[in-house]
């Protein structure tokens, strides 16, 4: 029966090629616009670490005072060096890591005939690798002792390893970064979580994978400055000159992440944090009551506004556009079907039931949907290339035509057109055979 409906549908579509083509094109454009914007939206709003995100938290401490962050009680989105180190030393969480973004220049070995080049990385602590589930191709990260001994260790990315050592196991070899030799202890396998939740407060949410990781303590010893934001608006007096003056200042620039596996530990950490700030008030450093916050990973992404507003607005507009296409298809299908009221009358008179008529026209709508979906797929693929126009390259690159997306595109088109076909088919099924035959 279905095959017969399909034959009828194709026959009927062939009879008015222009109208059919119009419906297919409109449906394809609507579906492609929606799917392209949806692909981008899904890519930027995903959970980067789904199995762990509920356990990872960012503590915030108000070191600026109520007069400086009056607007919606926005606390500084990073910590001072003093606070970060105090929280690291306290070890109040199961795991904790201090992080700041750095940039360095690789000076290749003399034999390589390469010019020095810049690489991006993070100064961080040993727990970083286990907390964020960093996979290693060779070796592993440094351990807690490495943090304490301010070890000269470094973990590099697979890509940097490829570039410098042609992908060979480089554990134990030396990497010259800005004139300092570091001992390579690990090669990180392809690892690039998006959005990069631990660095969104510096605006590095999307982009290429980091090239290297070195111990936070070592980076501090070497006076390696942060490549991210440094906000000194909390300090009421000029920051003392020099590196140590900066470390002891009220400037915020260190990110801190803690892992809290259950509700009890979350509560305990919250209390610890609050007590810490209260202690700062007692000691005279803060002139205000303890004001602290603890965000989990997804709440943090939301708080920092990681999803660009452009992606949401364009998704909304594209969805509205699809709705118009849908309404339009209903209208065109109605016109097309009702024009053939005579045929329907004949079919009904020859014994076709209302259900048969209904099925026939839904099959016709579905056929248009499949064609629209396939064309829409093509347009979506083209649209993916167009995303570089609208979004920054790091974000645009995330939008890919996956198998799931291909299925979703065709499914959306078919569902939408069948939905659009419901009303016209219902109207067709209600055609009075006697009236139609008489009027011929």
């Amino acid at each position: 029966m279905f095959i017969y409906y399909l034959q009828l549908a194709l026959h009927s579509l062939k009879r008015s090629p222009a109208l059919t083509a119009l419906m297919i094109i409109i449906m394809a454009i609507g579906v492609a616009a929606s799917m392209t914007t949806y692909a981008v939206f899904r890519a930027v709003s995903g959970d980067p670490l789904p199995d762990k995100s509920a356990q990872l938290f960012v503590p915030q401490i108000d070191n600026a005072g109520p007069q400086n962050n009056a607007a919606r009680n926005h606390l500084p989105d990073a910590l001072t060096y003093i606070d970060a180190m105090a929280l690291m030393r306290a070890k109040a969480a199961a795991h904790q890591t201090a992080i700041y973004p750095v940039v360095g220049n690789v000076i290749p070995n003399a034999g390589l005939q390469q010019r020095a080049f810049a690489v991006n990385g993070y100064a961080t602590s040993a727990d970083f690798f286990s907390m964020f589930e960093v996979p290693f191709q060779y070796g592993h990260g440094w351990d807690g002792a490495g943090d304490e001994q301010r070890a000269n260790d470094i973990a590099i990315s697979r890509r940097l390893n490829q570039r410098l050592f042609a992908g060979a196991n480089s554990i134990g070899r030396t990497l010259n970064l800005d004139g300092h030799g570091y001992r390579i202890v690990g090669v990180v396998d392809d690892w690039n979580l998006q959005p990069r939740f631990f660095d969104v407060n510096n605006g590095f949410s999307f982009g290429e994978a980091p090239d290297y990781y070195l111990p936070f303590t070592r980076a501090i010893d070497l006076h390696i400055a942060s490549n991210g934001n440094n906000n000194c608006s909390a300090s009421a007096k000029p920051v003392a000159p020099g590196w140590d003056g900066w470390l002891q200042s009220e400037c915020v620039w260190v990110s801190l992440w803690v892992q809290l596996p259950d509700a009890v530990s979350i509560q305990r950490y919250q209390r610890f944090l609050s007590d810490y700030a209260a202690e700062q008030q007692r000691s005279g450093r803060f002139q205000w009551a303890s004001n602290v916050r603890l965000f989990d990973l997804n709440a943090w992404l939301d708080h920092e506004g990681v999803v660009p507003p452009e992606t949401r607005v364009s998704l909304l507009v594209a969805a509205g556009f699809l709705l118009v296409c849908l309404v339009n298809t209903v209208g065109l299908l109605l016109a097309k079907i009702m024009r053939r009221a005579g045929d329907i009358g004949v079919r009904r008179a020859l014994g076709a039931s209302r259900r048969h008529v209904y099925g026939q026209f839904l099959a016709e709508a579905a056929a248009i949907g499949v064609a629209g979906g396939l064309l829409g797929l093509l347009l979506t693929a083209i649209g993916m290339h167009g995303t570089t126009l609208l979004f920054e390259p790091g974000v645009a690159k995330l939008a890919r035509l996956t198998a799931g997306l291909v299925g979703l595109t065709v499914l959306l088109a078919v569902l939408a057109t069948v939905l659009a076909g419901l009303y016209p088919a219902w109207r067709a099924a209600r055609v009075q055979p006697s009236w139609q035959l008489k009027s011929q």
């Binding site: 109208l19 119009l22 409109i26 454009i29 616009a33 007069q67 400086n68 220049n105 000076i107 010019r115 020095a116 080049f117 810049a118 800005d178 004139g179 605006g203 400055a225 000194c232 608006s233 300090s235 009421a236 007096k237 000029p238 920051v239 000159p241 020099g242 590196w243 003056g245 900066w246 506004g305 660009p308 507003p309 452009e310 949401r312 607005v313 364009s314 909304l316 507009v317 594209a318 509205g320 556009f321 709705l323 118009v324 309404v327 339009n328 209903v330 209208g331 065109l332 109605l334 016109a335 097309k336 009702m338 024009r339 126009l389 609208l390 979004f391 920054e392 009303y423 109207r427 011929q440």
Partner: protein, 407 residues
């Protein structure tokens, strides 16, 4: 022209009528808001930066290894000399940031040291006596820095300028009634600095953070002694592209112990394109959606009206036989479409305002001005009328004999 028969005919075709009304309404709602977004984005990306963009480029330089401040000072001086000797280069200076760039410094500005919260925010640009000439900034009051006023500042030193030059936007903000030149303000937590000059315009670096104080910038008379520096270069007209390659070559030839990577040399054309990529993309996307949407709606109107004309051949024939002129028939369909359009735009205006309320609420956009709604209404009514013309004209050309003949 009588309205009643048209209304009763429409009532007979409730389904189709409601569909077109709905489509016109949705189209109006989306088109109004899309036009509004386009306008806002185009406004943003056509803001002047104050820089003579056609002939300025920037080179980001990173020295290899650690250098003492004295070494950095000598290296910067010799680099600027090297750059100024490249054929086609007019002037150059070194800074921490540039207008429309992707990062920079900012400070709060206070009238006095003990004022608790800042009166305004400002971008901080390191500058010397060459800065105004290099960027092509227009001095509207006071004077430029003198060479002997330019100091050196280490990367970790506090910013303590004695004299500063500010933009007119900042001057107007701080001293709305007075002349700013000669006044003293505190930059960050520094003791008061004297304003010696006001430039017409100099945009800040781009970012959501600096949006609120887009043109409020301060030039401070220091060379920043840091391993990473930005050289800003003014070229002769039409020479920027050439100097984008010869400039870095000259620097590398003079001293190879540095990194100037692929993305580190940018002309202002590139800087502007990067800075406003999202705005331009959004405007183009909205424009395309508007165009396709209007085309879709027009196609829908043509399709449905054609169908109605086909359905009413006999009635048209009867009317013609009873003396209706071709113009009467044409008028009938145009009026019918007008009625539908009016219904559509009325509903659409409500939808447009609702959609805008959603955008305002969720995306901090501005309120839709009524001009856009009026423009959208006019556009859609005209679109409807022109879409209906072809099928209506065809209907009016039906001869009474043919139309009433049994098919």
């Amino acid at each position: 022209m009588q309205i009643r028969p048209i209304v009763s005919a429409l009532w007979h075709h409730k389904g189709g009528t409601v569909l077109i009304v709905l489509q016109i309404a949705l189209t109006l709602a989306i088109v109004c808001n899309a036009l509004f977004i386009i306008h806002a984005r185009v406004n943003r990306l056509s803001r002047p930066s104050g820089v003579e963009e056609a002939s300025v480029l920037v080179i980001q330089n990173q020295w290899l290894g650690e250098r003492t401040p004295t070494q950095l000072q000598a290296l910067m001086a010799s680099d600027l000399d090297t750059l100024r000797q490249v054929p086609g280069v007019v002037d150059a200076y070194a800074s921490n940031a540039y207008p429309l760039g992707d990062s920079g410094w900012s400070k709060g500005v206070r009238y006095s040291v003990d004022q608790r919260s800042p009166a305004s925010s400002t971008a901080i640009y390191f500058a010397d006596e060459h800065t105004l000439a290099t960027l092509g900034l227009k001095l509207v009051a006071g004077r430029n820095f003198h060479a002997d006023e330019i100091g050196d500042m280490g990367a970790r030193d506090s910013l303590l300028p004695r004299v500063i030059i500010i933009t007119r936007a900042l001057a107007d903000r701080l001293f709305p009634k007075d002349d700013a030149v000669g006044k003293r303000i505190c930059v960050g937590v520094a003791p008061p600095s004297t304003i010696i000059g006001v430039v017409e315009r100099m945009q800040t670096w781009i970012g959501s953070y600096s949006n609120a104080w887009m043109e409020q910038s301060t030039l401070v008379p220091f060379h920043l002694l840091s391993g990473g520096m930005i050289y800003v270069v003014r070229t002769q007209p039409g020479m920027t592209e050439r100097i984008a390659s010869t400039g870095p070559q000259a620097l590398l030839a003079a001293n190879p112990l540095r990194v100037i990577g692929q993305g580190d040399v940018k002309t202002y054309t590139q800087i502007r394109a990067i800075a406003y990529r999202k705005d331009r993309g959004m405007a183009i996307l909205m424009g395309v959606i508007c165009a396709v949407l209007l085309a879709t709606t027009a196609a829908g109107i043509v399709g449905l009206t054609s169908f109605w004309v086909g359905q009413r051949r006999r009635q048209i024939g009867v009317r013609r036989a009873l003396g209706a002129t071709q113009a009467d028939i044409l008028g009938y369909f145009c009026t019918e479409n007008l009625l539908i359009s009016v219904g559509g735009v009325l509903l659409g205006t409500v939808l447009a305002l609702l959609l805008n309320a959603l955008l305002v609420d969720r995306f901090e956009m501005q309120r839709l001005s009524l001009d856009y709604v009026i423009a959208g209404v006019v556009a859609l009514v005209l679109l409807g009328q022109s879409a209906v013309l072809v099928p209506a004209w065809r209907a009016s050309r039906l001869s009474p004999v043919e139309a009433t003949r049994v098919m």
